[in-house]
């Protein structure tokens, strides 16, 4: 028990200090923000107002770039829809300010909702290209549509502020500050909510999230729309403050400015985009008046320098610096933890759940498994898969009964992993049908298959490298058992005690609880493999696909993995691809031999072990090689 208490102890000693620093910084920032109007000259007041407006834009974009991994160059579109919406509604339709502002925000949000439908299906380069293209076309439409939008001259708002009180720049500043604070606090809650963690999971490894049951599209879409709303809010404030909606609101320059702010400050940090907005706005208004002609060139140089020398931003840079100054804390070194690891190696279940000593299976099967579903767990009918001219799976026909444990063996390139990809939905079969627990899933997304009870591990570990061990587990839980929380935006993840408790239970089973606060990229390979299995078990699957669970493990780690496999609950259907034949023969009751995309043999381990063709495949032709092969197996046993 002491092993588990130590890690929180370390964390507890560390956390209050960091919070104290952060609180002090936050209090100082608030004090400065409130004091701006009566301490600084009015020139700086306007810079501060604009910095807050751009801060709102950058905060929204940061949700996309920093937390969801979607680098959008279309934010100007929603900013512009907000500013022009306000302008057109108040000037042309004579609407009162507040309803017009609400309608303009709704317009920007609707714009994001429409563009998001298309853009969010794409990733990386394609996403960038499509967002910039859509934003640019909107800019062009505005630029040319002179009679409605004022064209190149923009649209004068005839004032544009909500009421007389707002025409004092100090008052408008406080108004902007209040809106800014509301957006910042709102975004903070989104980020620390289960939804925020879900987004970070998508950012890190979208495929993994899909196989854990997330329809990632809807999550990304919601983030896109939220960012659009923030941009529209910034847009109306900008139009109200400047008294004009101009084509520059919609231009690519605006999108790039927002992006530069996020990058300069630090994407994926809460303070980063705000700091970036303040710095860039101040620079812009200082330097562009000082050197009118050279400002664009200076800004161009800033873009290049920031990209080359500050790719992670100022705030992350300071964070790294602060971490270096702090006394070194190494979670995997303290003695009790080593004991825990050693204990886990000897007997994971005993070390991990002290007290009752339940095996992993008992704990995992505590909740309802889908194992009782009628009919076979998996049916493959004529499944083929070709990549261009290369036929990887020729015609797979196979039925796996519920509760069966099936091993799949075959040489490298036999099609084993492709078969798993096809079953789990990562690859679509070229032909054939896949039926999962009586449901045809041939065309279903990986997330749908996951919800039917399918779970899998990957041959090359597919974890969320920049999330902690506990967060990895929580992503898995929020995709399945605690699905109801995954779109929960208003309640912090840490307030959901049941998720944390379940994560602790599962991590104890695999002996990783002591490492729960370690980012997964810093975890040893053996521990990553164990976490890989734990993530696959978290959804309490009915059908588990294990892709080479012992690949790359040391002998001791293999022994531990075998114990973990042995303790899997009885009702669970398992398909396992493995090169260590002794692991397969010990664990399964049926073996499929895959060769050049075809099942060449299907039978109990004893038959397969004695089969000449299999021996031929594995140990080379002739009986002479056979004893050597068996010797290898014996040695490994």
């Amino acid at each position: 028990m002491s092993t588990i208490d130590t890690a929180p102890g370390l964390a507890a000693a560390d956390r209050p200090r960091r919070n104290w620093l952060r609180d002090a910084g936050l209090a100082a920032a608030i004090a400065v923000a409130v004091a701006v109007p009566w301490t600084l000259p009015s020139y700086w007041l306007s810079i501060a107002t604009l910095a807050l407006i751009y801060g709102i834009l950058a905060i929204g974009l940061n949700l996309l770039m920093g937390y969801t991994g979607l680098d959008s160059l279309g934010q100007a579109a929603f900013f512009g829809l907000g500013s022009y919406g306000l302008g057109i509604l108040t000037v042309k339709d004579g609407m009162a300010w507040w309803p017009a502002a609400a309608a303009a925000v709704a317009l920007g949000t609707a714009g994001a909702a429409v563009m998001g439908l298309i853009a969010v299906r794409l990733r990386g380069l394609y996403f960038l290209l499509v967002t910039v293209a859509m934003g640019q076309v909107l800019w062009g439409a505005d630029y040319r549509w002179g009679t409605f939008t004022g064209g190149a001259n923009g649209l004068e708002l005839a004032g544009g502020r909500p009421g007389d009180w707002f025409y004092s720049d100090a008052n408008f500043y406080y108004f902007t500050l209040a809106v800014f604070a509301a957006v910042a606090v709102g975004m903070y809650f989104v980020i620390i909510s289960p939804f925020g963690l879900t987004l970070r999971g998508i950012r890190e490894r979208e495929i993994r999230s899909e196989t854990l049951g997330y329809g990632t599209y809807s999550h990304k879409y919601l983030a896109f729309v939220l960012a659009g709303t923030a941009a529209a809010v910034a847009g109306i404030l900008n139009a109200a403050y400047n008294g004009i909606a101009s084509p520059s609101d919609l231009s690519i320059d605006q999108s790039f400015t927002a992006m530069l702010m996020v990058i300069l400050g630090g994407a994926g940090t809460i303070a980063g985009p705000i700091a970036g907005a303040v710095v860039i706005t101040a620079l812009k208004y200082e330097l562009s008046t000082l050197w009118v002609n050279y400002w664009p060139i200076i800004l161009g140089v800033i873009y290049i320098l920031v990209t080359v020398y500050l790719p992670n931003g100022v705030v992350s840079g300071l964070g790294t610096l602060a971490a270096r100054l702090r006394p070194v804390k190494r979670v995997d070194e303290p003695k009790p933890l080593t004991e825990a690891a050693a204990g886990a190696l000897v007997s994971p279940s005993a070390a991990a759940s002290p007290g009752d000593g339940r095996p992993a299976g008992a704990l995992l099967s505590r909740r309802a498994f889908h194992g009782h579903l009628p009919g076979p767990a998996l049916e493959l009918a004529g499944v083929r898969k070709s990549f261009g001219d290369l036929r990887v799976l020729t015609a797979i026909d196979c039925t796996v009964e519920a509760g069966e444990r099936v091993g799949i063996i075959g040489l490298n390139g036999a099609g084993k992993t492709t078969l798993f990809h096809v079953i789990s939905g990562i690859e679509r079969p070229t032909a054939g049908r896949i039926v999962l627990f009586g449901t045809d899933v041939t065309k279903a997304a990986p997330s749908r298959r996951a919800r039917l009870g399918l779970s899998r591990t990957f041959q090359v570990t597919l974890l969320y490298p920049r999330l902690t061990v506990q967060e990895n587990m929580e992503v898995a839980l929020l995709g399945s058992t605690f699905r109801r929380y995954r779109l929960c935006l208003w309640r912090p993840l840490r307030a959901h005690g049941d998720v944390e408790a379940r994560s602790r239970e599962l991590l104890e089973v695999v002996g990783l609880q002591p490492y729960r606060d370690v980012e997964v990229r810093h975890l040893s390979y053996g521990h990553q493999r164990q976490l890989e299995i734990a993530l696959a078990l978290a959804p309490e699957p009915a059908l588990l696909l294990l892709d080479e669970p012992t690949a790359g493990l040391s002998q001791a780690e293999i022994a531990e993995m075998r114990r973990l496999l042995a303790s899997l609950p009885g009702g669970l259907t398992v398909l396992v691809v493995e090169h260590h034949l002794e692991v397969i023969f010990e664990f399964v009751e049926r073996v499929l031999v895959l060769h050049q995309g075809d099942i060449i043999m299907d039978g109990p381990p004893s038959d397969v072990r004695g089969d000449l063709r299999v021996q031929d495949l594995y140990f080379g032709a002739g009986a002479a090689a056979q004893p050597a092969g068996q010797a290898t197996i014996a040695a490994q046993d």
């Binding site: 290209l129 293209a133 859509m134 076309v137 992006m259 990058i263 161009g300 990209t307 990986p446």
Partner: protein, 289 residues
């Protein structure tokens, strides 16, 4: 309807120019995965530079040569000192190239003053032709011929000799490419230089037709983006089809309802993207991408 026919032929000519401009952009995107957001800046630079060269000395041909070589050289240098640092990382590529865009556009403004200018049509191409009873300016016919020749040449280069496939394969699997002795830095540099050559050519050829004016860099970038997104990301054939389609639409749009010309672009783009996110002739996406 000779009037509409004339508009369509003019549209094809404009599409031909768009293709010359978009082909470089599309190649850079498809092969070394660079979104060249400085595309419009290259265009505006070549227009003013080309006009200066054409009037001072060298004439139209001199403008073409100087423009193409200038942008090719700039592209090679940019690839060497900037893009090479961020291979296959779209975000830093786009951000730093936008910085380059700002610098070039402002430099052009400082040097040439930023007044709207159009190159005089070269004398040899200033006549007109009769096509199906419609008068077509010879320069436009010339653009169509150049674009057609360029399309064939690129098709031969990329599809027949498979040099494009080789380059793309090298980009996809750097380690393998390195291990068989391919110098990727150099290959990417040459390729980006070549796309610069095409953009420079497009700018010189566009100078008599569109010319340079305030904001033209954004318009050219936008039209190119629409062409590439519509035709299919990284597909030259897509860029060809997209250019002609957008050229005709744009020409008719600006002729009949100038104010709404961008809506004419917007609608087909949204339609195509909702049906095929990677464009008409772009390759389909796998889940992993």
């Amino acid at each position: 309807m000779p009037h509409l026919l004339g508009d369509i032929i003019n549209g094809i000519a404009f599409g031909a120019l768009l293709f010359i401009l978009a082909s470089g952009f599309s190649l850079a995107l498809g092969v070394i995965r660079v979104i060249n957001v400085a595309h419009g800046a290259f265009y505006i630079l070549t227009v003013y530079l080309g006009i200066t060269i054409a009037t001072a000395a060298g004439g139209f041909l001199g403008a073409i040569v100087v423009d193409s070589l200038t942008v090719a050289a700039m592209a090679i240098i940019l690839q060497r000192i900037l893009l090479n640092r961020f291979r296959l990382a779209p975000l830093p590529q786009v951000l730093s190239m936008y910085g380059v865009n700002l610098i070039i556009v402002q430099a052009v403004r400082l040097i040439w003053g930023g007044y709207p200018e159009v190159m005089a049509t070269p004398p040899a191409l200033s006549g007109t032709l009769q096509v199906f009873g419609t008068i077509v300016p010879a320069y436009r016919a010339f653009l169509i011929a150049v674009a057609a020749a360029l399309a064939v040449a690129l098709w031969l280069l990329i599809d027949r000799i498979r040099i494009g496939a080789l380059v793309r394969a090298s980009v996809d699997d750097e380690e393998i490419a390195r291990s068989i002795g391919i110098n990727i830095e150099r290959l990417s540099m040459m390729l980006f230089g070549f796309t610069g050559l095409l953009v420079g050519l497009g700018g010189a050829l566009g100078a008599p037709l569109i010319g340079g004016y305030q904001g033209v860099e954004f318009e050219i970038l936008t039209l190119t983006l629409v062409v590439v997104v519509l035709g299919g990301i990284g597909s030259l054939a897509g860029a060809f089809v997209g250019s002609l389609f957008i050229g005709i639409l744009w020409n008719i749009g600006t002729a009949y309802f100038a104010q709404y010309s961008y809506f004419v672009l917007f609608a087909p783009m949204i339609l195509v993207l909702s049906l095929r996110p990677t464009g008409l002739l772009g390759r389909k996406l796998n889940i992993g991408e």
